[in-house]
C-alpha cells in the first residue's frame, strides 16, 4: 500500500453530499473575508471527498493530513501575520473543515463535521444580523441537521425529503422551548475579554467630510440607515424630520470637515425648548460613531457624548445594530456663542474671488441685520437659475465661484457648502449639519425608515438673540426634495427625464405595488431587529417589568424557566408517545391480540411462524375450538395478503372462545 493512501471511504453519498452543499452555501457569503488559497483548499477538499466517495477510492493517510495541516497553518500565519482576529480565525476554521472533510469516515467524524458546519453558520452572523441573513444561515443549519438524520438512518424507499421534513418537525416541536429560552435566558452585558469579531460588512454611507459629490453618490444607495419609531405617537411631518448626524465647523469653499477638535462643548439640553419628541431608533451598524437624532437631541444615549454643535457621538464605533431612545426638542434659545466656537464659525476660506466678495458686499450694503443678509442669500438661490442635479460634474480650482456664477448646478452639499461659506464671508457665524432628511413612513409598523439616499446637508447660522437657526438652501432650489422626500423626488425626476414623456398608469401601479411590498418586507425585518436582534439586557428587563417579574433575581427566573421548559418537555413527551401508538396498523394490532389470547392458553407463536402454521398448531392443542382458531387465521391471511378489510378478522378475534391453558387440559 502506498504511504499516502488511507482507508476506504465508508460513507453513504446522500448525507455526505448534503453536508458538502451546506458547507459550500455557508462559505459563499464569507468569501471576501477569506484568503483565496484557503478557499481553494476548501474547494479541492470538497471535490476530492465527493470523488473519493464515489469511486470507492482511498482517503488520504495520516502523514498527508499532517502535512496539509502544517501547510494550512503556515499559510494562515504567513498571509495574515498571526493567528488572532476574525480573518485568521476564519482561515483556520476553513483549513480544519477541509481536513475534517477529507478524513471523515466514521460516525464521530460526521458528527464533528456537522458541528463545524454549525459553527460556520455562527460566523456568518458575526457580520450581519439581518433577518434574511439569519434565515439563510438557519436554512443551512437545518440542512446540516437533516444530513445528520440521513446519516443515521437511510429511509427505505422513501424520498430524500424525509430527513429534511423530520428536521423541520424537530424545530417546530422545539419552538415553545426555543421561545422560552430566548425570552427568559438572562442576557448579560458582562465584560467579555475575548471578542469573536468586531467589524461590519463594507458599509457605504455618510462620511465625515463634505465635498462636491459626496452626497450625490448616496442617492442610488437604497441601504437602510436606521429606523425610528415615536413611542409617544407624535410623528412630526416628514418634511420636518431633520436627523442630525454631525456638525462641520471647518470649511474651505466647497469642502467642509468636522474640525471639532479643541472646540468647547455647549450644554444643549439646558438651552433647548419646545415640545419634546421621543424617538426609539434602531441604527444599522455603520462602523463609525454616528448617532442620529432629530434636530436637536436633548438627551444622551448610553456610552455617548455631546460634541461641539450639539450632536451625539458614540464612544465606540457602531458594529452591531444599536437600539436607543433619545429625546429631541425642536427649538433652541442659545443666549451666547462661546468665543472659540464663534472664531471657528467665522473662519473664512483662503481663497475668495472678487466676484464672490462683490456679491456678499452687496447683500451687506442692502441689509442691516444678519437675518436679512441670510434671507438675501436664500433669495439669491431662488431667483437665479440654479438647478438641482444628481450629476453636476466636477468643479475646478475655484469651485465656489464656478458654482455660484457659471454652472449653477449641484446637489444639496453644493448648496449647503456655498451658503455657509457665503455667510462666513459676510461675517455671520455659520456651520454645516450633515445627517438625513425625511424618510419613509411605514404604516404597517408605525415607524420611519431612513435610507442612505435620504442623506442630506444643511446650514445653521448664528443670529444674535435667536441662536443657531437652520437654513436649508436645498428647500428653495428643489422644494419637492424637502416636502416629499428624496426618493419621490428622484423618481419623479427620472420619470420626467424619460423619453416617453407621460408615464403609463400600469408602470406607476406596478411601482406602487413594489413599494408596498418593500415596505411590508421592511416592516418584518424591523420587527426582527426590534424583537430579536436588539433583545438585550434592557429590553429583557423592560419586558420583565411589564410582566410583573421585574423584582425577581436572575437565578429565580432561570429556575422558573427551567421548570417551564421541563413542563413543555413533559407535554411534548406525552404527545409524542400518543402519536406512536396510533401509527400501528389496525390489522397488526388485532393480530397481536390474537397471538396474546393464544399465548395465554400456552400456545406461543414462534417468531418465524406464519399465521397459518401457528393456527394449525394451536388448533391441534385446542381441538374443541379448532374451527374458530382456523377461521380467524384464514380471515387474517385474507386481510393481510388478499387485501380484504381487517374488520371481519377483528370480529373473529373478539369472538374467540375462552381457551383453557393447555397444561391443565388433560
Amino acid at each position: 500500500m502506498k504511504w499516502w493512501r488511507g482507508k476506504h471511504s465508508n460513507l453513504e453519498t446522500a448525507p455526505l453530499t448534503g453536508v458538502c452543499v451546506a458547507l459550500v452555501l455557508a462559505v459563499v457569503p464569507l468569501l471576501d473575508r477569506m484568503a483565496p488559497w484557503a478557499v481553494a483548499i476548501f474547494a479541492v477538499a470538497i471535490l476530492l471527498r465527493l470523488l473519493v466517495n464515489r469511486q470507492q477510492m482511498r482517503l488520504p493517510s495520516m502523514p498527508v493530513k499532517i502535512a496539509l495541516l502544517a501547510i494550512g497553518m503556515g499559510g494562515v500565519g504567513i498571509s495574515y501575520g498571526g493567528f488572532f482576529g476574525v480573518e485568521p480565525g476564519l482561515g483556520i476554521l476553513l483549513i480544519l473543515l477541509s481536513l475534517k472533510l477529507l478524513e471523515t469516515n466514521t460516525v464521530r467524524d460526521f458528527q464533528v463535521l456537522v458541528l463545524l458546519g454549525w459553527f460556520l453558520c455562527l460566523c456568518g452572523l458575526f457580520f450581519s444580523q439581518d433577518l434574511s441573513r439569519w434565515l439563510y444561515d438557519g436554512c443551512i443549519a437545518l440542512l446540516l441537521a437533516a444530513s445528520l438524520i440521513r446519516f443515521h438512518y437511510a429511509p427505505r424507499g422513501r424520498s430524500a425529503m424525509r430527513p429534511i421534513w423530520l428536521a423541520v418537525k424537530l424545530v417546530a416541536q422545539a419552538s415553545p422551548i426555543i421561545l422560552l429560552l430566548f425570552v427568559f435566558f438572562p442576557r448579560s452585558r458582562g465584560d467579555f475579554r475575548f471578542q469573536f469579531s468586531r467589524s461590519v460588512d463594507g458599509v457605504t454611507g455618510m462620511s465625515d467630510q463634505l465635498s462636491p459629490g459626496s452626497f450625490a453618490t448616496l442617492t442610488r444607495n437604497e441601504n437602510r440607515a436606521f429606523r425610528a419609531d415615536f413611542p409617544d405617537g407624535n410623528v412630526p411631518p416628514l418634511s420636518q424630520l431633520y436627523w442630525r448626524g454631525a456638525v462641520l465647523w471647518r470649511g474651505d469653499g466647497m469642502i467642509w470637515a468636522r474640525g471639532t477638535g479643541g472646540l468647547p462643548v455647549e450644554r444643549p439640553a439646558a438651552q433647548l425648548t419646545g415640545a419634546t419628541v421621543r424617538q426609539s431608533i434602531i441604527l444599522d451598524p455603520h462602523g463609525s460613531r454616528w448617532l442620529f437624532a432629530l434636530d436637536r437631541p436633548a438627551s444622551l444615549v448610553r456610552d455617548s457624548e455631546f460634541q461641539p454643535g450639539g450632536f451625539l457621538q458614540s464612544y465606540r464605533p457602531i458594529v452591531a445594530p444599536l437600539r436607543y431612545t433619545v429625546v429631541s426638542r425642536p427649538e433652541n434659545h442659545e443666549a451666547g456663542l462661546m468665543p472659540d466656537q464663534r472664531k471657528a464659525a467665522l473662519e473664512k476660506p483662503q481663497l475668495i474671488s472678487p466676484r464672490v466678495r462683490e456679491l456678499v458686499d452687496a447683500w451687506r450694503a442692502e441689509n442691516s441685520t444678519d437675518r436679512a443678509v441670510a434671507e438675501a442669500a436664500m433669495h439669491f438661490f431662488r431667483k437665479e437659475n440654479f438647478v438641482y442635479s444628481l450629476t453636476p460634474n466636477t468643479y475646478g480650482a475655484d469651485a465656489l465661484t464656478e458654482f455660484l456664477f457659471e454652472r449653477r448646478s449641484g446637489f444639496c452639499e453644493h448648496y449647503a457648502a456655498s451658503f455657509a461659506t457665503l455667510m462666513r464671508i459676510a461675517g455671520i457665524p455659520s456651520r454645516i449639519v450633515i445627517g438625513y432628511h425625511g424618510g419613509e413612513f411605514n404604516r404597517l409598523g408605525n415607524y420611519v425608515l431612513v435610507r442612505q439616499l435620504d442623506a442630506h446637508a444643511w446650514c445653521e447660522v448664528w443670529l444674535k438673540g435667536e441662536g443657531w437657526i437652520r437654513f436649508d438652501p436645498t428647500n428653495v432650489i428643489a422644494p419637492d426634495r424637502i416636502s416629499s422626500g428624496s426618493e419621490y423626488f428622484l423618481e419623479s425626476r427620472a420619470l420626467a427625464e424619460s423619453a416617453a414623456g407621460e408615464p403609463s398608469v400600469g408602470a406607476a401601479g406596478f411601482r406602487e405595488m413594489m413599494r408596498e411590498t418593500r415596505l411590508a418586507w421592511d416592516n418584518i425585518k424591523y420587527q426582527w431587529d426590534l424583537r430579536v436582534v436588539n433583545y438585550d439586557e434592557d429590553a429583557q428587563q423592560t419586558l420583565f417589568n411589564l410582566a410583573g417579574l421585574g423584582d425577581f433575581a436572575p437565578p429565580v427566573i432561570v429556575l422558573w424557566m427551567a421548570i417551564g421548559a421541563l413542563l413543555i418537555f413533559g407535554i411534548l413527551a406525552a404527545w409524542l408517545s400518543r402519536v406512536r401508538g396510533e401509527t400501528l396498523d389496525p390489522l397488526v394490532r388485532e393480530y397481536r391480540k390474537f397471538c396474546r389470547v393464544l399465548a395465554r392458553s400456552g400456545v406461543v407463536r414462534e417468531p418465524s411462524e406464519g399465521a397459518q402454521h401457528f393456527a394449525e398448531r394451536a388448533a391441534a392443542l385446542h381441538p374443541e375450538h379448532a374451527d374458530a382458531i382456523r377461521k380467524a387465521a384464514a380471515l387474517y391471511n385474507a386481510a393481510r395478503y388478499g387485501h380484504e378489510a381487517p374488520r371481519p378478522f377483528a370480529r373473529a378475534v373478539r369472538e374467540l372462545p375462552r381457551l383453557r391453558h393447555i397444561t391443565s387440559a388433560s
Binding site: Y153, L170, V532, T583, L584, R600, S608
Partner: protein, 306 residues
Amino acid sequence: MKGATPSHEGVTGRVRVLPNRNTLGFVALLVAMWYAGASQNNGAAYLLCFVLGGVALVSILHTHRNARGLRVSIGSVVPAFAGDPQTLRVGALAAIGGMHAAIRIKAGATGSSIAFEEISGPQWQFDQLEHSAAERGFFPDLTLAVSSLYPLGFFSARMTLTIACPRWVYPAAEGNRPLPRHLLPARNRGAGIRTEGDDFAGLRTYVQGEPHRHIDWKAAARGQGLFVKQWAGDSDETLILTWQDTAGLAHESRLSQLARWVVTAERSGLSYALDVPGTALPPGSGERHFHACLRVLALYPAEVGP
C-alpha cells in the same frame, strides 16, 4: 398470564437516554454560540444557539421514542466451544407499532454488534450476531445492549435486555496429548491397538492431538496436507476417557484435553466413555452422547483454591 415471558416472544425494557461522546462537542458549540451572543450583544447568535439547543432537547424525546417498545428475541443457540464465536439469531419487532430506526444490538458489554437500519411492520426481522463465548458452562440468559443514535446522534438511547436463552459453552477443545490407550474390547475383538486389518474407509483431515500413527504420511509427502486414515472397524472399539489420563495438566487444560478427545473420538466414529470425578458416562457415541459428555465437562466445577 403464567410465568415469565417466553424468550421467543421477545423482551423489551426501559429505555434510558444518555449523553455520549458526541454530546460534549455539541455543548461546546452551544457555549461558543452563547458567548458570541453575549459578548457581541448578538441577538441572531443567541437565537441560533437556542434553536440548536431546543432541537437537541427535543431530539432526546425522539431518541427515547425511537427505541421504546422494541422487542428483541434470541432463537435457540447452538452450543459452542469456549473461545469460538457463537452465532445468535437475534430477532427484532416493532411491538407497539411505528418504526425503530438505526438500532444497534450488541452482545454483552464488549461483544460484536449488528445494526438494523429500520424495524417496522408486523413481522420479526432477524440477523445473525456473532457472540464470542469466553467461558465454559451453561448460561440461562444473555444480556444484550440495544442502542440507537437516531435522530441527531448527540444522545444515545440505551436498553439493556436480559433475554432467556439457554446456551451451552463447552470447554475449548485443545490439547495435544494422544488418545489414551484404555480401550474396552468391543464384540470381543482383540484388545490390541487399532488393528490394521480392518477395511480402509477413507481419509479425513487431521485434528491436532491425534495419534501420529494414523496420519497418511504419503499424502503429506505429496504436499496435500495432513490426513488421517480411517478404518471401518473403528466403531467397534470403545475408548475410556478418564480424568487421570490428563494428569499433569492444569485444571482447565485437563477439561480442554478431555473435550478434545471427545471430539476426536466422535469424529473418528469411536465409541467412548467419559469418567470424571463425580460423573461417569457409559460408553456410547452419536450426537446425543457427544453433547452429554461435553455438557458434563462444561459444568465440571472450577478448581477450588490455589
